[in-house]
Amino acid sequence: MGKVDLQVQLGPLKLKNPVLTMSGTFGFGQEYGQYYDLSALGGIIVKAMTAQPRLGNPPPRIAETPGGILNAIGLQNPGVDVAIAEELPPLQDLRCQGTLVIGNVSGYSFDEYCTVTKKLSYSGLVDAIELNISCPNVKGGGLAFGTHPDTVYKVVSGVRAVCDVPLIVKLSPNVTDITEIAFSAAKAGADILSLINTLSGMAINAKTRRPILSNITGGLSGPAVKPVALKMVHQVSQAMDIPLIGVGGIVSGMDAAEFLLAGATAVGVGTANLMDPLGALKVVQGLERFLEEQEVASVSELIGGLIVCL
């Protein structure tokens, strides 16, 4: 690689470059590790882990939409214990090479979030934990933890208390005011915020008159959501001072640069991995090329560099 400095300081985390792969689109790294050397990445956020193994939703789980996809995987994962025993150890080499390994924690109850976080944090196998609070709060009547400031505060502070590594909180875009949620998460102790998770959506086959996904609804991701994600990243970065991971529809170095300009310190690549096995690698390379072309010596110069004058 060239002379451009790609390192960024994401709150307490030092990244060799600002490109992370997003949870659920990269498994535990094994498959894409056959395609390229994962140490080219800033970090890997692995598939969501829950307290118990989860089978996930019946198929179909994926629907294509204009410029995006819907998914309803349903958090299929082997459970945090198996993940700690089998999935995370093979990734430890990467950490020596400066590529972060980040756990993604999901749950259906306050206790589950805490249990999983505690185990992961104590395992010593992850550099940070990302909390996915877009899942339904069963005790709270099924409304997601991530859509109300109070539950966000409660979950994040609960998890914070048992988490010995930096804590990233991943925000749902399906809210009236994302800054309100971001404030709660920050106040409760989040070190970093990642945004956005998927938009709630649905696809229908008009001929069969049925939803395409067995789950009826799914989460929308991919290029189609980029404008929504950019706006939320910009809005939160204007409203408060917390490091952000910008996520949503990034497929190129230019897309990544847009998120950095909007105020993110790092970016996450999700659907692009599905579109192309080299998707995340191409974002790293594209970002480096973009900086070279623009004669920017360090990627940090882009962060929050949007010029807004009316």
């Binding site: 590790g33 056959q34 939409t65 958090l75 096995p277």
Partner: protein, 283 residues
């Protein structure tokens, strides 16, 4: 930086791309590496257009592997956006493909192998039939389709073994499901192994037949896919397993597309506790 599997990302040249029937096309690709490495029953993910639209690649089985000519063939039906765009691609143009993917069929266990294909499921059976004959394995072929026109590659199969055909409209062969000639055949003759591809109801019926008769069978399944490489868990198919629920999900793209008939579960037991809807819709 790149590792071995990156070689699966290949630029093929379109040699031919024309309709066999109004809505079924025959695509011939120059792709020497793929032709030499792929096994029958494996598939490729085709990027039908450059740019962002459509978002995902499309999975197609390899219909034929011509190692000498460095060519592979695909037969595809025009279903929607992706296959529609594919029909517009012309000879000489480049096509980005990803493959070979998946496990493919395994011929080891048979001396006389039955190949059962329904509709577009006929496509991948030609490659395995050709390999079988090369390995001196006898093939008996059972094909079913809407009409005679859709009995794809019937002539090619006839050069390779005995062929039984049925159609939905009786235009060629008997008006029946493909399980009928198979069951009739099995009344007098024996098959060591059955390899099948076709619509899920056909495969389900077949799984019942081979269980009753105690014949080993491999089924090639289809599922909507995301990545095609095993990472996203998008292409789940339920298989029997020693979990508390009695099943688990396997990945058609990575653990399949070929599964043992005995392990496939065609309908998932209704979940007792359906969790509340998630704000992201994902779970």
């Amino acid at each position: 930086m790149l590792r071995e599997d990156a070689e699966k990302i290949q630029t093929a040249i379109i040699v031919d791309n024309r309709p066999l029937v109004s809505d079924v096309y025959h695509l011939i690709l120059k792709a020497p590496k793929l032709a030499s490495e792929a096994k029958p029953g494996q598939f490729v993910m085709v990027k039908v257009a450059s740019g962002l639209e459509p978002t995902l690649r499309r999975p197609f089985s390899l219909h034929r592997l011509d190692r000498r000519a460095g060519q592979v063939e695909i037969i595809y039906q025009v279903i929607g956006k992706g296959t529609d765009i594919l029909t517009e691609r012309k000879p000489g143009e480049q096509l980005e493909i990803l493959g070979p993917l998946g496990n493919g069929f395994c011929l080891q266990e048979g001396k006389r192998v039955g190949l059962v294909g329904g509709g577009m499921g006929i496509a991948p059976l030609l490659a395995v039939a050709e390999q079988a004959v090369q390995e001196a394995i006898e093939v008996v072929v059972f094909l079913g389709a809407r009409t005679g026109d859709y009995l794809l590659a019937k002539e090619e199969f006839e050069h390779l073994g005995q062929v039984f055909v049925v159609t939905d409209d009786g235009s060629v062969g008997e008006k029946a499901l493909v399980s009928k000639p198979l069951e009739e055949y099995l009344q007098n003759q024996q098959l060591d192994l059955i390899l099948a591809c076709g619509p899920t109801p056909m495969l389900k019926a077949l799984a019942g037949i081979v269980e009753t008769q105690g014949i080993k069978a491999q089924l090639s399944l289809e599922q909507r896919m995301g990545c095609g490489v095993g990472a996203c868990l998008g292409c789940a198919f339920p298989v029997k397993a020693a979990t508390p629920e009695g099943y688990t999900y396997k990945r058609v793209c990575h653990d399949g597309p070929v599964f043992g008939a005995h392990e496939v579960l065609f309908s998932v037991p209704k979940e007792v506790t359906k969790q509340g809807g998630c704000s992201c819709g994902q779970s």
